[in-house]
């Protein structure tokens, strides 16, 4: 009797595996990790779990997009000095070199009590540990006008690199000289703190070359530039004085997409020829639906020793979706670093070992202020056992003295190396 049940249970495992195209029969004996989201966090975690477990842990990576498109450097596409194709890469090496099972699919439902993931294709995956790295989604209901039909097709965010990046570039190219480009920035925290200011610089650079009578108007919900503030403001004064206008404290409450008008919460209205709305953000939808977003319903609180959710056992959350530690930006570099702390902890936990007691991580963010010159911000973070969080190591970190082409070289090589570290 027991024997037959054993066979049935084992058989069920094989059927389950075969529905998702698993070729290895022995796979069912190894611990199973499922990673949701193949961005800078998820892809890196998948690779490092395979590397650090010596292949002893099976890893399945679920990503709906056929290719990886980098958000870092995507502002250069708007500025005209890079093509989106330069920032687009395949996932093939993760399978070929690291034996990761890659499924081009989306997650519909996470059943934490059964430790299963239901995919849009209908397949169900069982996991011992689940890693959720879903990035951000937009809180559209804070901008009622953006929910009208067609509004999101004409007023773009371009805050996830891809078709929107190309479409916003096309709008800028079609804009006549003498026009106004306006960009709204949501209250922090949002993905990529210096990103909006880099974007303003890139578009000002494009205008200075191609449409010198045009304006860049920055409508910032925050009271001051959120990242690298003194540097950006100095550069705008020195290089783009007649192009960029910075308006802090403009908290966008609504948008009229037909007239390309942004409205502030105190009733100020700004009409633009090209309006770019960076909406307020929260953790990706699957994290919110799965009860992981336990910080104000927006972000996912984690144990920084393991990146395990504080809301749901055996589920880890990485990248922009987490409730960050003090002075920790929502950046690609940070997601890469979360991924490695998490990967090491997951391997240790699956092996029955205690994870590292004082994990560390670094951050570097490079911003292009024209086609060549770059400024950076950097920091080093270490776990503080008393405060149970990651804190900046005193004395570490800082910003550039000023923009330079040397840092432009470093930035491009940073990109090459982090892409390889993530994908190959």
């Amino acid at each position: 009797m027991k024997r037959r049940q054993f066979i049935q249970a084992a058989g069920a495992g094989v059927v389950l595996a075969s529905t998702v195209g698993c070729a290895t029969v022995s796979g069912s004996a190894k611990p199973q990790v499922v990673v949701v989201g193949g961005g800078y966090g998820g892809a890196t975690a998948a690779k490092y779990i395979r590397m650090w477990s010596g292949g002893a842990v099976d890893v399945t990576l679920i990503e709906p997009n056929p290719k990886f498109i980098s958000c870092p450097l995507s502002n250069l596409v708007l500025g005209g000095s890079r093509m989106l194709a330069d920032l687009t890469m395949g996932y093939d090496d993760l399978t070929r070199k690291h034996g990761i099972r890659l499924l081009q699919d989306a997650v519909k439902f996470i059943d934490a009590s059964q430790r299963t993931v239901l995919l849009a294709s209908g397949a169900t995956l069982k996991y011992d540990r689940l890693i959720v790295s879903p990035g951000v989604d937009f809180i559209w209901d804070q901008l009622p006008g953006m929910q009208r039909e067609g509004a999101q097709d004409s007023v773009l965010h371009a805050w996830k690199a891809g078709p929107q990046t190309l479409a916003l570039r096309a709008q800028l190219q079609a804009m006549p000289d003498g026009g106004v480009f306006a960009m709204t920035i949501p209250p922090a925290p949002y993905r990529c703190p210096p990103g909006p200011y880099e974007r303003a610089s890139q578009i000002a650079f494009y205008f200075s070359q191609a449409k010198p009578r045009s304006k860049v108007l920055i409508l910032d919900a925050n009271e001051d530039v959120v990242s690298k503030g003194p540097l950006f403001k100095r550069i705008w004064k020195e290089r783009y004085k007649d192009i960029i206008e910075y308006r802090p404290g403009f908290n966008t409450a609504d948008v009229d997409a037909r007239t390309r008008t942004a409205m502030s919460e105190i009733g100020d209205q700004v009409k633009a020829d090209v309006l770019n709305v960076i909406p307020p953000q929260r953790a990706g939808a699957i994290a919110v639906q799965s009860g992981l977003a336990n910080a104000n319903g927006r972000w996912c609180a984690v144990d920084f020793l393991t990146f395990e959710s504080t809301a749901v056992k055996n589920i880890h959350v990485l990248g922009d979706a987490i409730m960050t530690a003090p002075l920790m930006p929502k950046s690609a570099h940070m997601a890469n670093q979360h991924a490695k702390v998490c990967a090491a902890a997951v391997v240790d936990l699956l092996a029955g070992r205690t994870p590292e007691a004082r994990p560390m991580l670094t951050n570097t963010c490079y911003s292009f202020v024209c086609d060549k010159d770059v400024i950076h911000v950097a920091s080093v973070h270490a776990y503080d056992a008393d405060k149970k969080t990651l804190l900046v190591v005193p004395g570490s970190g800082g910003v550039s003295a000023g923009p330079s082409a040397l840092e432009g070289e470093y930035a491009m090589n940073w990109a090459r190396n982090i892409w390889a570290d993530t994908l190959s």
Binding site: Q5, G352, V380
Partner: protein, 102 residues
């Protein structure tokens, strides 16, 4: 009833057996992983601009890292990064990367 009782036991056995097969993460690998978003996985650096770390002599790496930390060696970013690590950690990094294949 019996089946419900059997499956958790079975899973527990599988997990225990699998756990024994998961090797230790090499010493220094976690710390070194903080460097390699810029310097390439295990220090196998892409491109010719950022210094390749894998397979460099241990003393060279150690001297460079300390010189960055003290500011003796000028840099845009490395002084700011090196100051986040203790001298012992810099030695661990030098040992790890010097032992990696070029």
């Amino acid at each position: 009833m019996q089946m419900k009782a059997t499956i958790p036991v079975l899973l527990a056995l599988v997990s225990a057996a699998a756990a024994a097969d998961v090797p230790q993460i090499p010493p220094g690998a976690r710390l070194a992983a903080t460097c390699v978003a810029c310097h390439g996985t295990n220090g196998a650096t892409q491109g010719n601009t950022l210094p390749a770390l894998a397979g460099q002599p241990r003393q060279t790496l150690s001297d460079s890292l300390r010189a960055f930390k003290t500011g003796l060696r000028q840099s845009t970013i490395m002084t700011q990064i090196a100051r986040g690590y203790t001298d012992e950690q810099l030695e661990q990094l030098a040992a790890y990367f010097s032992a990696q294949k070029k």
